[in-house]
């Protein structure tokens, strides 16, 4: 894929383009009787972003589609009345290679991810599963990935390294060869009173020793210094990541979740979220996401799936 992707719109069009050029990505939906999920899948299929199999309660799915005018033409329904069984079989389809993306429906996130990681399948990767939100924020000159606001509560050293690797992979899939990763802090320097800055210093040491490749890292950086070159300069920070970050790796689930919500709620930042760390990406959308954000989330999962298959095959 040529070039870097710089907006939410481009994520969607890139996924469309990819599907027309390569084998279209197939999404297995785990327990599909969820209106938000059905709408997202139907829209994405209509736009040519993916094809899909819905695992779940067939009558409920059809009834929901009727009630909400959702077009399920060309979408296969696999009948499993029990949600856990539906999820299990959706995951099995991905494990068998017939689905490229797993999408969460009416099952709990933790239940679905346990199934993904189950010894029954061969979908585990070497890293922990983590969630990255890719935000298209009006006022920022590029997209910003932010992790982890959905899964990892409080990353330790090892987990933070994996968050860096997982989110970098997403940006690789978006066409960035060496994404710029900023490690978040409430201050731009290391201070004993700020535990997160000490952890980030350890990661910087590790990075400087050449043990992390495939991305550029700098931290601790405050949110403003990570996203504004002028502020970084004013504070005497001379580093290519400062002011131009692609990814902001934060210190707690609260920091990520709450800070991104401020921007999603009040400036309508476009948001695409995906879980990586397994052999296939897992997509989850929520009722409160806008239709565009749900489409962007499915699109990014398809882009990641394509990238994983391409790089795995090399």
């Amino acid at each position: 894929m040529a070039g870097e992707i710089h907006s939410g719109e481009e994520i969607i069009s890139a996924a469309q383009k990819l599907s027309s050029q390569y084998k279209v990505k197939h999404v297995a939906v785990a327990a599909a009787s969820d209106v938000a999920v059905l709408e997202a899948v139907s829209n994405a299929v209509n736009k040519g972003i993916c094809t899909s199999s819905l695992f779940g309660h067939e009558d409920k799915i059809k009834q929901m589609a009727d009630e909400h005018n959702i077009d399920l033409k060309g979408i296969e329904i696999k009948r499993y009345d029990d949600p856990a069984e539906a999820a299990y079989n959706a995951v099995r389809m991905a494990d068998g290679g017939d689905a490229d993306v797993i999408m969460k429906g009416l099952v709990s996130t933790s239940g679905l991810l346990k199934t993904v990681l189950s010894r029954d399948f061969n979908l585990r990767g070497k890293n922990t599963l983590s969630h990255t939100a890719v935000l298209d924020i009006p006022g920022y000159h590029k997209m910003l990935g932010i992790t982890d606001g959905g899964m990892v509560v409080k990353p330790d050293f090892e987990t933070k390294l994996q968050l860096i690797e997982n989110s970098s992979l997403i940006f690789n899939a978006l066409g960035f060869e060496k994404p710029k990763v900023a490690l978040s802090g409430a201050i731009d320097y290391v201070d004993d009173n700020f535990p997160s800055t000490l952890l980030n210093q350890k990661i910087m040491d590790y990075y400087k020793a050449g043990k992390i490749r495939g991305c550029e890292i700098y931290g601790p950086l405050t949110f403003d210094a990570a996203t504004d070159t002028k502020i970084a300069q004013m504070r005497g920070i001379d580093n290519p990541v400062a002011g131009d970050a692609d990814i902001f790796v934060v210190d707690s689930i609260e920091e990520c979740n709450i800070t991104s919500k401020v921007m999603i709620l009040f400036i309508k930042a476009i948001f695409a979220g995906v879980i990586v760390g397994a052999r296939v990406p897992v997509s989850l959308v929520s009722r409160t996401d806008s239709a565009q954000n749900r489409m962007a989330s499915l699109s990014i999962a398809c882009l990641v799936a394509h990238y994983l298959q391409k790089s795995g095959g090399e």
């Binding site: 535990p195 707690s252 709450i258 009040f266 409160t288």
Partner: protein
């Protein structure tokens, strides 16, 4: 409750009180401009502390008339601290403002016991203030600057300090949200447990002067339709006007998301010391500086 920084200014003007202000390391163009305006409106009486020649050079270059200011030249930070502690001891200043001194240095110097900024064991904290157009209200947020990792006890202090500030804005019973990533209690997320404990304390009247609920996610805390949609009831959900972040990284990220990306008029103030301390960043706009001054004057 006052609902915009314009209303803050009107209230301060009507009171007619002149506040005595100290600008610490005053070679700061943004603050000199803001204070010159307030000085000529008769709202403040300013003492500039800092390198005399640099301050006058900046004022000259930018056409700022320093005649109405008191200027106290210093040769070292020790001298600055002497002036500040003398003013604190003699009650001759009402507001302290951070000029070009570094955040870290300034807090360290100010918190030293002999300076007299801290009052006994009273907790010093920062509260930022944001006017958010979409919901047409002022949100207070704590703590983006001073307390790195507040524990349960410290969070209660933050609730009380931020509520006291809300009282000054005319809200007798602010609605305080203990923010978290979710609106349910999960033992694996300690912040949700602490938030619930504080909410319970509020229910039982152990915390007074405000209504506290939590854990609440950001959307459920401030957006009524989100609270309804997720079935969270109570008097705070959807209507919160005081937000307590679980840690400093979250609060700082929110502060910058509001001020930089959302474009919400913002200000930031350190409270709980002997006098309020305006602690804006050097990169902040003059407007943010003025808003912080208004917070201090109220």
């Amino acid at each position: 409750m006052l609902n915009s920084f314009e209303q803050f200014r009107d209230k301060v003007k009507v009171s007619g009180e002149k506040k005595r202000v100290l600008l610490w390391n005053a070679d700061d163009l943004g603050w000199l401009k803001v204070l010159a305006r307030y000085q000529s409106d008769g709202m403040v009486e300013t003492t500039l502390i800092g390198d005399e020649s640099r301050i006058t050079a900046i004022a000259d270059e930018n056409g700022i008339d320093l005649r109405a200011f008191k200027l106290q030249g210093i040769a070292s930070q020790d001298q600055a601290m002497e002036i500040i502690s003398k003013n604190l001891a003699e009650n001759t200043s009402d507001i302290l403002i951070r000029g070009t001194i570094g955040i870290k240095d300034s807090l360290k110097a100010l918190f030293a016991k002999k300076v007299g900024f801290r009052i006994g064991k009273a907790v010093v904290s920062a509260v930022s203030c944001h006017y958010v157009k979409d919901i047409d209200r002022i949100l207070l947020l704590s703590d983006p600057v001073v307390n790195p990792a507040p524990d349960l006890g410290r969070k209660i202090n933050l609730v009380n300090s931020a509520s006291n500030f809300a009282h000054k804005l005319g809200d007798d019973l602010p609605k305080v949200a203990m923010l978290a990533a979710v609106e349910v209690v999960y033992p694996v997320m300690p912040h949700t447990v602490e938030a619930a404990a504080i909410a319970k304390m509020s229910d039982r009247g152990q915390i007074k002067g405000c209504l506290v609920d939590g854990p609440l996610s950001m959307d459920v805390a401030v957006i009524e339709s989100a609270a309804r949609g997720k079935g969270v009831t109570g008097e705070v959900a959807g209507k919160a006007n005081v937000l307590i972040a679980p840690n400093i990284e979250t609060a700082y990220g929110m502060l910058k998301a509001f001020s930089r990306f959302v474009g919400a008029p913002s200000g930031c103030l350190v409270i709980g010391g002997k006098i309020p301390y305006c602690m804006t960043s050097r990169a902040d706009s003059d407007e943010t500086k003025e808003n912080s001054l208004l917070m201090a004057m109220i």
